[in-house]
């Protein structure tokens, strides 16, 4: 009789333990992962054709009049002819954040080779966005 009880109790305990492990892993077990997020921002880049500071600007050096200006008095026809506006350029800015990933998300990520262990011991996601880096991690 004790053997029958033992034979029934052990698998039941293991089954409950397995289910509890799945539940805990799915809902509470999270791991901090470094993530790099890319966003596109528009920045002003100085125009390479603009004159260097001091030339063609509002406050020219006293001993030298602005280029194109008449030798006496302010310019007669608006601003200096080489005053170019800055160029607007779209660049990708990478920001690094740390997020706690739940284990199911981590499982999905490792199936596509999306998480690596850094030498510092931290985990880093190797991609950004929804699409994984590859179908086969190896």
């Amino acid at each position: 009789m004790p053997r029958i009880i033992w034979r029934a109790v052990v698998p039941l305990l293991l089954l409950l333990g397995g289910i509890a492990s799945i539940q805990y892993g799915a809902r509470h077990h999270s791991v901090p992962v470094l993530m790099e997020q890319e966003e596109e921002v528009t920045i002003d880049v100085p125009n390479p054709f603009a004159l260097p500071p001091g030339l063609g600007q509002d406050s020219p050096p006293p001993e030298m009049p602005p280029f194109g200006a008449p030798p006496f008095g302010p310019p007669l026809f608006g601003p200096a002819p080489f005053e170019a506006p800055p160029i607007k350029e779209v660049v990708t800015r990478v920001t690094q954040t740390t997020e706690d990933l739940l284990e199911p998300v981590l499982i999905r990520d490792v199936t596509v080779g999306g998480v690596r262990l850094l030498a510092s011991g931290e985990l880093k996601r190797t991609y950004s966005g929804d699409q994984g880096p590859s179908l086969c991690p190896t």
Partner: protein, 330 residues
């Protein structure tokens, strides 16, 4: 009268074992993602590579290896294996595993078959500890002996289909004008022309090691029964441990044994059911159930009545029933 009853029981048992093929086929369809849901956040209980384009779940062994490389405890994978193993043990191997099914199909080819000694099942624990846990933990997933890098199921189900898919997709994207295509030999990287697709881009072919291992396993399946499962499978090693305490288990009825050695000859895994009915390499294919001394039982039916008569004294063997040379049917 007794012989008639036994004949009838043999018929029923053979019929039960015959369901195994259809069960394997049904499970195969389930693992091949028929609904295209691709639930890779969930660990499946079988050896089916998650890199397969048609994989429903994540492979538990792959997850164990990857998490070992990340130094994270895989609670979901462990929980899945323990829960499934506690209920059915290695029934999963014999009835649900797609890679086992493939080996079963190869075994149907009529070739001379050899059986390996039962102790060779220990190699599976070496694979589990070394390739799945230790090497990933210490050397990471870049190591050439990382389990997924040598896994034959991964090569067959993941690497080869993905490579073919990649080559086909790139060929479809190639400009139709042949003059626009660069010849492969002109690639500045100087890579092997066989590793270039039509667009001149490098294709990540499976490594030679992977291909050799896959071919060796498939060739061995022609001359031995389930060589991967019985020799090297780490998932089978885990379920073999679970066989000792699973809710569903195999029984050997010593009172029905007539020393005919039928059970031993029926076991294609090379185990000796009359000595240890849930042996180290048993995948619970239930072929040995054609012998009247072997039956299936659960922890909820300890006093099962088999066709050979009432069996209140039926026992499950955890140790050798007949010592070597004692005159038993082993």
């Amino acid at each position: 009268m007794v012989s008639v009853a036994k004949g009838k029981s043999l018929f029923h048992r053979a019929k039960l074992a015959r369901w195994r093929f259809w069960a394997q086929l049904g499970f195969l369809l389930a693992w091949l993602d028929p609904l295209l849901v691709r639930m890779h956040s969930v660990c499946g209980p079988v050896f089916h590579c998650y890199s397969c384009p048609l994989a429903t779940f994540a492979c538990p062994i792959g997850v164990l290896a990857q998490f070992s490389a990340l130094h994270v405890l895989p609670l979901i994978a462990i929980g899945t294996l323990v829960a499934v193993g506690a209920v059915v043990g290695s029934f999963v191997c014999g009835w649900a595993c797609p890679f086992g099914f493939l080996q079963d199909l190869l075994a149907r080819i009529p070739t001379p078959k050899f059986s390996l000694p039962a102790w060779t099942g220990v190699f599976r624990y070496v694979v589990l500890i070394a390739l799945v846990l230790a090497i990933p933990y210490w050397y990471g997933e870049e190591h050439e002996l990382f389990f997924c890098c040598v896994c034959p199921a991964g090569t067959l189900e993941g690497a080869i289909p993905n490579t073919v898919q990649l080559v086909l997709s790139r060929q479809a994207n190639v400009h139709p004008d042949p003059t626009q295509q660069e010849p492969a030999a002109s690639d500045p990287a100087g890579q092997d022309a066989t590793q270039q697709d039509a667009a001149g881009q490098a294709v990540p072919w499976p490594s030679r090691t992977r291909i050799v291992i896959l071919v060796a396993v498939l060739a061995a399946a022609l001359v031995a029964w389930r060589p991967w499962c019985t020799l090297l499978c780490p998932l089978g090693a885990i379920y073999a441990v679970c066989n000792r305490f699973s809710m569903v288990f195999m029984r050997f009825h010593s009172d029905r044994c007539r020393d005919c050695k039928v059970c031993r000859s029926l076991c294609r895994g090379g185990d000796r059911p009359n000595r240890r009915v849930d042996g180290l390499r048993c995948v619970r294919c239930m072929e040995c159930q054609q012998c009247q001394a072997v039956s299936i039982g659960t922890v909820f039916s300890p006093g099962e009545k088999g066709p050979g008569g009432p069996g209140p004294e039926l026992v499950t063997l955890d140790r050798p029933r007949f010592p070597s040379g004692s005159g038993g049917c082993g």
